[in-house]
């Protein structure tokens, strides 16, 4: 193992946070999701990438099996209200309500309060910089650790 990894990577974040990145529903535009996965990977996260067109059930079951801290879903289809509600409901049903859910994609600002009320921890829309994405997640995880 290289010294660089010891000092800057593996030892600083001795246990990297695990995050699921995927796309739910009938929506194959995965450029954004892949970009976010790449950004988080480079920020030292372990990203479990699920690919496109996943059902809320697939997302919830995967999140549980993988024991992730965060589920990040990119949705560009307009079905975000229904899909996020379903994913959050399923996680609660399965005793995994402590997993944070973060929304990304083309989400109109008028829908943000509804999503927040559902329990979506953060909404990141087009134009969010890589820096702001990482900062948002770092802050959420810190908060989650504090609450645990």
């Amino acid at each position: 193992m290289s010294g660089t990894a010891d000092r800057e990577g593996l030892d600083r974040k001795r246990v990297p946070a695990r995050i699921l990145i995927g796309k739910a529903g009938l929506d194959g535009h995965d450029r954004g999701a892949k970009y976010v996965a790449h950004v988080l990977r480079d920020a030292g996260y372990e990203v479990i990438y699920t690919g496109i067109r996943r059902s809320p059930e697939q997302i919830a079951d995967t999140a549980i099996q993988e024991d992730v801290a965060v589920v990040g879903l990119s949705i560009l289809s307009g079905a975000h209200k229904i899909l996020f509600k379903r994913v959050i409901d399923l996680l609660h049903e399965r005793g995994a309500g402590d997993i944070l859910v973060v929304a990304g994609g083309t989400i109109p600002s008028c829908d943000v309060p509804y999503l927040k009320e559902l329990g979506v921890a953060a909404v990141l829309t087009p134009g969010a910089s890589s820096k702001s994405i990482v900062e948002t997640l770092d802050a959420l995880l810190k908060q989650r650790q504090g609450a645990a």
Partner: protein
């Protein structure tokens, strides 16, 4: 937290709604806190064990994940009431510590099958093609009722053969177009295999690779166990060809060798504890070496001939012993 471990073990060991969730938490524990592995292992002798642990290894892009997906489907069809577990390892970045775990994408059709439990893991700087804690993770999959556990390594080259110590049977996956006969003579991966799968048989060159491989392996006549000749199968995971034959072969070997596997598995658990000790020692020594500046100065002193490597190691060990107040325990 010890209480938590016991509770998770209890839940993971019974077919309840929270079984997989509890097992998933235990897997994180085995993966994240190697120093707690002995605690986790305390009651392990009582745990149910998987009937068969199959390792899949081979170069990046040789088709390990697609074959894993087909094996899951095959085992599920043969034994509808039995659970299949998968541990799929991908590489961590040596620069950032991050990882993109993408093996699962090929297996998503099994995501909602309650009898399939898939876990992705990052290698976290551990060389050997797997990661620390893998042996414990296999046992936790057994606790969670997995009959067969498939362990998929990172895409490996020549020297990552740790899977041979973890799995009962090692499948080495090869694909045409990855090198000539000389590559097959080189040491490492090919010595670790029990069954060689020439994948992508739908492509040109697969038959030639299979015969080349057979000729090379049978030149000396020994597989990894020296008592069983290595076998070569031609498969197209993509088209589903040859997968049933592969599962037949795995079942046959399992029936023949199961008792011997059991013996070897107990050695694997001991090895895991040894590795946990080494990892903790590495961490403490790294800490004793100090921050960047202090560590650099130590190295410079060796360069100037004012200290020796052995001398420095001795001093670091003394520091570790002092810091942990365990001087009397050292022997």
């Amino acid at each position: 937290m010890t209480g938590d471990v016991r509770q998770f073990v209890e839940e993971a060991g019974h077919e309840t709604a929270g079984r997989i969730r509890a097992a998933a938490r235990l897997l994180s524990l085995a993966e994240n806190e190697p120093e707690r592995i002995p605690e986790l292992f305390a009651g392990m002798a009582e745990w149910p064990e998987p009937r068969m642990v199959v390792g899949l290894t081979g170069q990046p892009g040789s088709g390990k994940s697609v074959l894993t997906d087909r094996l899951i489907a095959g085992f599920r069809a043969r034994h509808p009431d039995r659970r299949v577990g998968v541990i799929a390892v991908d590489a961590s970045s040596p620069y950032t510590g991050g990882a993109l775990l993408g093996d699962r994408v090929r297996m998503m059709r099994h995501a909602t099958d309650p009898m399939v439990f898939i876990r992705s893991a990052a290698s976290r700087g551990h060389v050997g093609g797997l990661m620390l804690g893998i042996r414990g993770m296999v046992r936790i999959m057994g606790l969670a009722g997995c009959d067969v556990v498939l362990v998929e390594t990172v895409g490996v080259g020549q020297s990552e053969v740790e899977v041979a110590e973890v799995a009962d049977l090692v499948l080495v996956i090869l694909a045409p177009g990855q090198g000539d006969g000389i590559q097959l003579l080189k040491c490492g991966l090919l010595e670790a295999g029990d069954i060689f799968v020439v994948n992508k048989a739908d492509r040109e060159g697969a038959d030639r690779l299979a015969s080349l491989l057979l000729a090379t392996l049978h030149l000396t006549g020994d597989g990894r166990r020296h008592d069983h000749p290595a076998e070569v199968l031609t498969v197209s995971a993509l088209k589903g060809r040859g997968v049933a034959e592969l599962i037949d072969l795995l079942e046959k070997r399992c029936a023949q060798e199961r008792d011997r596997w059991r013996e070897r598995r107990s050695l694997a658990v001991e090895e895991e504890i040894r590795l946990a000790v080494l990892e903790e020692a590495r961490r403490q020594i790294l800490h004793a070496l100090g921050n960047d500046d202090a560590a650099a100065e130590q190295v410079r002193r060796i360069l100037r001939g004012e200290a020796t490597v052995t001398g420095l190691v001795g001093r670091l060990l003394d520091t570790v012993a002092r810091e942990h107040g365990a001087g009397s325990e050292r022997s």
